[in-house]
């Protein structure tokens, strides 16, 4: 991996300070700060419209930031966009290959765009086709491939020049679970080779695969840490899982108890976010006894990433209610 000497010594792949992007009056990204280490899988989490894609585009040299600064692979994201582009791979949210070209033509096109030497091209092409698992479709028009294959081919083309830093914007949206699993195996392999992966997603089960996560909401960073840290130290509240028949009927009532902050339905069970699990468990038991219900169980569980995310967003909304 070729990088700026400064970056090589510091082991930092991506670093931004007070990065901001405005579109007119709208603040898409609001002064965020973070660092991504070399070889890390860095997950960027947030609902649609949170500013994930805008951030990625600024890092890839597609957008110029309104203010703030940053480096990718040691190159300045404002002044050295051209250098950045030679050392990164980017896969946008939208499927972005030419669907009127064949699989091979698409690969050839990107190898030539990245100036891959002639004697390397065939080898890389075979690797890419193997990666996408489409050996038998080499001569087929890309249009005729199914979603999962297209997505893997797009990834293959985005990394054909073997970049050190790879940006993936919701790479698994709209693909089947098996392809998703396969995709994440590829991502982990690439990280194991020392490449840095910057990935956005809104699937919480995928976020679990990341080394570190950053949550962004309304353009603002609301949390950062490893998945484990997210679920323990960052999550201030505790979670009780209530298993009972007709849970959806009781969810609202339980949320009105003083010691319960809020409730949400997870599958057929209720997850109650509480301030103190001991006191809340007692309150819930008392409430059900009054109602004459015996057929239930209450257990403290470890917060899932989804719990953390929902809770952080609610806290943010609470704090910004007046604005």
């Amino acid at each position: 991996m070729i990088m700026n000497p400064a970056a090589q010594s510091s082991n930092i792949a991506v670093k931004v300070e007070d990065l901001e992007k405005k579109f007119g009056d709208f603040i898409a990204v609001n002064q965020i700060n973070f660092e991504v280490k070399q070889g890390e899988i860095f997950g960027f989490l947030g609902p649609n419209g949170a500013g994930k894609s805008t951030t990625i585009r600024m890092l890839c040299g597609i957008y110029t930031p309104t203010s703030g600064k940053g480096t990718v692979g040691g190159f300045d994201i404002v002044k050295e966009q051209h250098n950045i582009k030679q050392h990164i791979g980017y896969m946008s949210q939208k499927f972005s290959l030419y669907d009127d070209l064949t699989v091979e033509e698409n690969i050839d096109f990107y190898s030539r765009i990245y100036n891959i030497p002639k004697n390397e091209r065939e080898k890389r092409k075979d690797e890419t086709i193997r990666l996408a698992g489409i050996e038998e479709f080499r001569k087929r028009l890309t249009r005729t491939l199914s979603g999962g294959w297209k997505q893997r081919l797009a990834l293959g083309c985005a990394i054909i020049h073997q970049p050190g830093i790879i940006f993936l914007d919701e790479p698994t949206s709209g693909v089947d679970p098996i392809t998703r699993l396969n995709f994440w195996n590829i991502i982990k392999d690439m990280a194991a080779q020392g490449r840095t992966i910057f990935v956005t997603t809104h699937y919480m089960d995928e976020a679990q695969n990341c080394d570190r996560l950053m949550m962004i909401y309304h353009g603002t960073m609301i949390a950062m840490g490893t998945p484990e840290e997210m679920k323990t130290s960052i999550m201030k509240n505790e979670i009780l899982e209530i298993v009972m028949p007709e849970a959806e009927k009781w969810m609202e009532k339980v949320s009105q108890l003083d010691s319960v902050k809020e409730t949400a339905l997870f599958g057929v069970n209720i997850h109650a976010v509480v301030y103190d699990s001991g006191k809340a468990t007692q309150d819930i038991k008392d409430f059900f006894r009054q109602q004459g219900i015996n057929d239930y169980s209450v257990n403290r569980i470890k917060a899932s990433l989804e719990d953390v995310f929902v809770s952080l967003i609610e806290t943010y909304d609470e704090e910004h209610k007046d604005k």
């Binding site: 957008y63 990164i88 939208k94 290959l97 070209l101 985005a158």
Partner: protein, 377 residues
């Protein structure tokens, strides 16, 4: 600039054009189609004006001799003889005739008794231009007849007319005053302008629409590489269309080509560069294929047809509109094409136009690159 990358983009574009029969058809068939329609359909020559005659003095030899002047003229075509006004009304209403000539009963009697004979001409004025021209033709036939009568009566009286002016006109460059010779070079320029702006604007808007542009922007491709890469295939198509146009003009319509082919190629390349850049500029503003194609058609077709002197002479336009025509690149290109085809002009009389085309190409090309850079690349 990296030529390998430029060529990568061009060859990708060639494959895409080959696989898209619609845009290929647009590029190759439309020019032939337009040339046929304009070349055959749009004739500005007015001859064989359909005419009906009511000769109320039909028994007279003198009247018949007089009417022979109309019959033998190539400007009139006598479609019918009649003996009532109802018929004339009807024929004009149904557009069967453009004018009616009514010879009164005592036409020959007046002439024989050396008096001025009345002659009625009824003209359909709903197309005022054609009507004016038809009336002019009729007037000149009558004037010629009068002059002959005058000479005759002078001769009878023993005088010899002197002191007359004899106008001898010679038409240069287009001896037959064939309007097709004037139109066809204009059609060629229109085709190049429309095809070039339309195809490039669509091919770039398509990349925005499908998200492939965003992917391209994230690669090390520079704006000028992308634009030049896109240029090469459409430049080829443009020159193909130009050759088809010149070939059809010469072979099918018999328009002479008296200038230098070298100049034709150089100046056409300038015009084409400007038109292609205009297409790119449009597509950078309009990111859907639909909007891009509409904008491209609107911004090229209308000015090129109406304001370039293609059909309507610029010196006839109001001063303000005349000023606007200086901004229409097709104006210069059409004038160059006419100069090359009909007059065999060299660069020493066309350098004015050539400079404007060069400016057009440079301005449009740099605007296109700037617009692209601002959008992200």
């Amino acid at each position: 600039m990296n030529f390998k990358r430029i060529w990568a983009i061009s060859s990708k574009e060639f494959i895409q054009i080959k696989r898209d029969p619609r845009s290929l058809g647009l590029a190759l068939v439309i020019p032939v189609f337009l040339l046929l329609i304009f070349g055959y359909g749009l004739s500005l020559d007015i001859d064989r004006v359909p005419t009906v005659i009511w000769d109320q003095d039909a028994s007279s030899q003198l009247t018949r001799d007089f009417l022979l002047n109309f019959k033998l003229s190539k400007y009139f075509k006598i479609v019918r003889y009649t003996d009532n006004y109802r018929d004339i009304d009807n024929l004009i209403d149904r557009n069967k005739v453009l004018m009616a000539l009514v010879v009164p009963k005592d036409f020959s009697h007046y002439l024989e008794s050396k008096k001025t004979a009345p002659l009625q001409l009824l003209v359909d004025g709903s197309d005022s231009n054609t009507a004016t021209i038809a009336m002019g033709y009729a007037r000149s036939v009558v004037q010629k007849y009068n002059a002959d009568l005058l000479t005759e009566s002078f001769a009878e009286a023993g005088f010899r007319p002197s002191k007359t002016v004899n106008l001898r006109s010679r038409v240069w460059f287009n001896m037959g005053l064939n309007s097709r010779w004037y139109i066809v070079p204009g059609v060629i320029s229109m085709i190049i302008m429309i095809i070039a702006a339309l195809l490039t604007s669509i091919c770039i808007a398509r990349e925005w629409e499908r998200g492939t542009m965003e992917q391209l922007i994230s690669t090390p491709v520079k704006p000028q590489e992308l634009i030049i890469g896109k240029f090469i295939p459409y430049f080829t198509i443009g020159f193909f269309d130009l050759s088809v146009g010149v070939f059809m003009a010469r072979v099918l319509f018999g328009v002479p080509f008296r200038g230098s082919y070298f100049l034709l190629i150089i100046l056409s390349a300038l015009f084409l560069t400007g038109a292609l850049s205009q297409g790119i500029l449009i597509s950078a503003g309009a990111r859907t294929q639909l909007l891009a194609s509409q904008l491209a058609t609107l911004s090229t077709f209308i000015p090129t047809t109406l304001l370039s002197g293609f059909i309507y002479p610029i010196f006839n336009m109001p001063k303000f509109v005349q000023a606007v025509t200086y901004l229409i690149p097709a104006r210069y290109y059409i004038s160059i094409l006419r100069g090359l085809f009909l007059k065999g002009n060299g660069i020493q009389v066309m350098w004015n136009e050539a400079v404007f085309l060069l400016l057009f190409a440079i301005i449009m090309f740099s605007l296109a690159i700037r617009k692209f850079r601002k959008k992200g690349v």
